[in-house]
Amino acid sequence: MSDDLYDDYILDHYESPYHRGHVDHPTIAHEDENPLCGDQVRLQLVIDNDRVKEAWFEGHGCAISQAAASILSREIEGKTIDELKTFQAPQMLDLLRVRLTASRQKCGLLSFKILKTMLYTLNDDLHTA
């Protein structure tokens, strides 16, 4: 774990993000923002057979929030919904490989929070379907 917030891993994801882009017909999409920083992320999932086939994000904001969205998108592809339900915030912070101060954790966890909200929504949809 690096003490430098802006190490190469974060900056690489910020500059060359994984799956930044718009998906026309996602199975589910959700967006949220961090009003303090003005970070915004929209996460879009294509789900096939209870498994994330593709994860894409759109948004803008600080390097931490955008790199985290990129790292999360790459991490969750191929995982099942059940696997994602056990995915917890500390694991997300570990994936970032940098130590975040309390105030910057909001940036680092924005896309994670969006994912969790989506999973709840998805659950409701499946039950009502």
Binding site: Y6, Q40, C62, A63
Partner: protein
């Protein structure tokens, strides 16, 4: 260089010795470069000493206790009120209402004047550079009274477009609420012209002077200002104390805003008579010590003098302009130097303002990043956030240089240079 000779006249090192915090190293040992003065200013020793003097020697409630301390503290508080009156050139000391800050001052007018006098079809004239504190209270009152909000358009360089003022200012306009100095763009607004044109339509004028009062003299009789609001803490005084100036006849026509102790003359079971000004609008116990501290802050600022402050801060701002402008990818928002106070907000391509502020902080440079409580303005500028450096007379020219070096450092971290 002319800027060198001008800044040399102002003894910034002597002024800095009055502010103990400026010479205390940050955790990690770096010197503090405090460029967040538009958020809150540091406090000179003279203000701190006044607070301690009050608390250690004559702390008591005001206007109540029939005892020596009560008399002393009431005298000190009323002296502070008189200092405020002189500072802004009000005719009568009763026109000075102590509040908790600019936000409460504006909310007081919006509620106590707006709710009583506004009706459906009336218009309030605002603009998109206003701080949320001079926008949201009016939105609330408009929705309660049926009044309509109108907005003076802004020019491309972030000034009020007075050439289109006639399109939005008319006989339906009941009040024009405008900031004297934008907290983001740094724009100095032409209050005289706005006030004159508002008056010609019979509209009242409220000036948000939170940003301007620490930097420039103001006189509420010329231009003709009906309400003026500012905070103590941006004027080198304590937090928790603010001022509302209102013309006597307006304040007398308004109903109380907050009700309770101190603001009454006689209370019966079913109804009450209210106190004379300014007590009518000062319900409950005032921030007494803070008000007295504000008086000391006014003394301090006046001992330096607004002419010297204005000239020196202008040179700091000019220096910032000269050094920031050549940085690749850096854009300064707002107008040129001739229309600008000591505030420079900017964006740097490739570095988000929050990352910028964090990296500047590593170099000891304290700035503000975000939307600065002006979300509509940032929407208009088409940026989500900016980084803001704001100067005070205790900032040394070398601190402007430190800001620019720190920005270069941030660009290096982001692999932009």
């Amino acid at each position: 260089m002319t800027s060198m000779t001008l800044t040399a006249k102002f003894d910034v090192e002597a002024v800095r010795r009055d502010f103990p915090i400026l010479s205390k190293p940050l955790p990690g040992g770096r010197p503090l470069v405090y460029l967040d003065n538009a958020a809150t200013a540091q406090k000179p020793r003279q203000v701190v000493e006044k607070l301690v003097e009050c608390l250690e020697n004559y702390n008591a409630n005001v206007h109540r206790g029939i005892h020596a301390l009560g008399d002393r503290v009431t005298g000190e508080l009323e002296m502070a009120r008189e200092k405020v009156r002189q500072l802004i050139g009000a005719r009568e000391v009763e026109e000075i209402i102590f509040t908790s800050g600019t936000t409460m001052s504006i909310n007081l007018v919006a509620n106590a004047w707006g709710r009583k006098f506004l009706k459906a079809g009336d218009e309030l004239l605002l603009n998109e550079m206003e701080h949320h504190a001079n926008l949201v209270p009016w939105q609330q009152i408009a929705s309660q009274t049926g009044a309509k909000l109108r907005f003076i358009p802004l020019t491309a360089d972030g000034r009020l477009d007075l050439s289109s003022l006639d399109e939005v200012l008319g006989d339906r306009t009941k009040l024009v609420a405008v900031t004297a100095l934008s907290n983001v763009l740094g724009t100095i607004n032409p209050i005289s012209e706005i006030a004159a044109r508002a008056k010609s339509q019979g509209a009242l004028v409220l000036v948000d002077a939170a940003q301007s009062v620490p930097h420039a003299p103001v006189n509420v009789t010329s231009p003709d200002i009906d309400f003026l609001a500012f905070s103590g803490h941006k004027l080198y005084g304590p937090t928790g104390i603010g001022v509302l100036y209102g013309k006597r006849r307006l304040l007398e026509s308004m109903d109380p805003f907050l009700c309770g102790g101190n603001m009454i003359r006689r209370v019966r079971k079913e109804s009450s008579d209210f106190a004379e000004l300014p007590g009518k609008f000062e319900a409950g116990t005032l921030p007494i010590v803070e008000a007295i501290g504000l008086g000391a802050a006014i003394d301090y600022v006046q001992s330096i003098g607004f002419e010297a402050i204005g000239a020196y801060e202008h040179e700091l701002t000019r220096r910032a302009f000269e050094q920031l402008s050549p940085i690749p990818g850096l854009t300064i928002v707002g107008p040129g130097l001739e229309h600008r106070g000591a505030i420079v907000s900017f964006s740097v391509e490739g570095v988000h303002p929050h990352d910028m502020a964090e990296l500047l902080d590593r170099r000891g440079v304290a700035v503000r990043a975000g939307h600065h409580c002006t979300m509509p303005l940032h929407e208009l500028l088409k940026v989500t956030a900016t980084t803001r450096a704001s100067f005070a007379f205790y900032n040394a020219p070398e601190e402007v240089d430190a800001l620019c070096e720190a920005i270069e450092y941030a660009r290096k971290v982001f692999r932009l240079s």
